[in-house]
Amino acid sequence: MTIAAETVDRAADAMVSMEGVEKWFGTFQALHSIDLSVAQGERIVICGPSGSGKSTLIRCINQLDAHQKGRIVVDGVEILPGSRTIEAVRSEIGMVFQQFNLFPHMTVLQNCMLAPMRVRGASREQAEAEARKYLERVRIPEQAGKYPAELSGGQQQRVAIARALCMHPKIMLFDEPTSALDPEMVKEVLDTMVSLADDGMTMLCVTHEMGFARRVADRVIFMERGRIVEEAPPEQFFSNPQHERTREFLGQILAH
């Protein structure tokens, strides 16, 4: 009894709580018994070699990938694979993708207005005002009337962030948001993410930008082969990693 009550409490406290989450793609096990709890306002950076399951982990949180075992609770609501109410949960979780995934047939403004109007039932005027506010926030208000193809990669990614923010998400998931960008555009996107973090947004970021991790993360998580290998505050993670594999990985990505 006591144990069960405690579990519920912990889940209710946390913005995201994962317990024993497992995920297979066919016979390949992508996630092994993942336990992770993210408090409100906490900023987590997840790194690890490619194929380590880091993207899969955050994609399970909004069920772009469905887990097969374990419990995922987001803001007190358990996420059940194949649930018919998944849209409601997703609308509270913002996501930014490596490839931006803006809607190419809509202007920047329309990209930002679509979901608030369709999902939240916002009026056109409300949605437009909000969209302009968040475009201002990511510092590209002047691009509102353009189509995504007319923007640089960095600008597109900032629009993608604004589009997610227009839904007033409780959590933001970032799936390698700067990996597809030319080097000179990485900074503008990271700056936007830093300012978001400074405002207290709960964030889970899959990224190899270790400078960003050092600056904003409350915790850095290192994953390998579908397991969380190491989990520590950045100062400890970078200066004194506990696991051999973490040291190797950091050696590889910090070497250049």
Partner: protein
């Protein structure tokens, strides 16, 4: 008694174009509705719907159009309904067009990158909104050229309705030929009329395709 091929004969054939056009448009409109449903079923998250649509497509792609018209025409009368050739041809061609347009549009829907679906999922859009606001506007652009291309096939396919006795362009030609016995002249004219209908559409389809290739560069 053999008649000479005169202005009345030519006019009879030319005026039969209206039936070819009407049958094509009917089948195209019906096929567009049916094809839309088939394409959505074929790309649906529900496996049973995907299987039904896939079976439908396989049957109609794997049998000749003439057999499909026969089956509707004679099948209906075997079951005690007397369909006139116009209705039978319209139903047969509609089913045929549904299968082919469904397959073309399925392809277009699946060509929309997966990231577009994922972004729409992540924003919490419901299925209807994902399809209507995100996927279809992109898929329609991709599907225009092959859709017009299929319309050309469909117009030519309506000539088979002549065999179940519907008097469209081809059957008008047969009737005139039986009276005048001038097959080269008669079917030359019939062929030229089909060409006049189909060629501009083929050009349009090619133009749409070029525009799309340019746009995607």
């Amino acid at each position: 008694m053999i008649r000479p091929f005169g202005i009345n004969e030519a006019f009879f054939i030319i005026s039969a174009i209206q039936w070819t056009v009407l049958l094509s448009l009917t089948a195209f409109a019906g096929g567009a509705l049916g094809g839309f449903a088939i394409a959505l079923m074929r790309t649906s998250p529900i496996p049973a719907l995907r299987r039904i649509a896939s079976g439908f497509i396989q049957v109609f792609q794997g049998t000749p159009l003439l057999m499909q018209l026969f089956l509707v025409f004679f099948g209906a009368s075997a079951m005690g309904w007397k369909l006139n050739p116009w209705v039978a041809a319209a139903i047969g061609l509609t089913l045929h067009a549904s299968a082919f347009l469904g397959e073309i549009w399925r392809g277009s829907i699946e060509t929309v990158p997966r990231g577009q679906w994922e972004a729409a999922h992540a924003l919490g859009l419901r299925y209807r909104e994902k399809i209507r606001d995100v996927i279809l506007p992109q898929a329609i652009k991709l599907s225009l050229a092959p859709t017009v291309g299929f319309l050309v096939q469909l117009i030519k396919g309506t000539s088979l309705a002549a065999i179940i006795g519907f008097t469209e362009l081809t059957r008008a030609g047969q009737i005139v030929n039986n009276a005048t016995f001038q097959p080269f002249l008669v079917f030359g004219l019939v062929g030229a009329l089909y060409f006049a209908l189909c060629w501009p559409l083929s050009m349009l389809s090619a133009h749409l395709e070029r525009r799309l290739t340019r746009a995607s560069r």
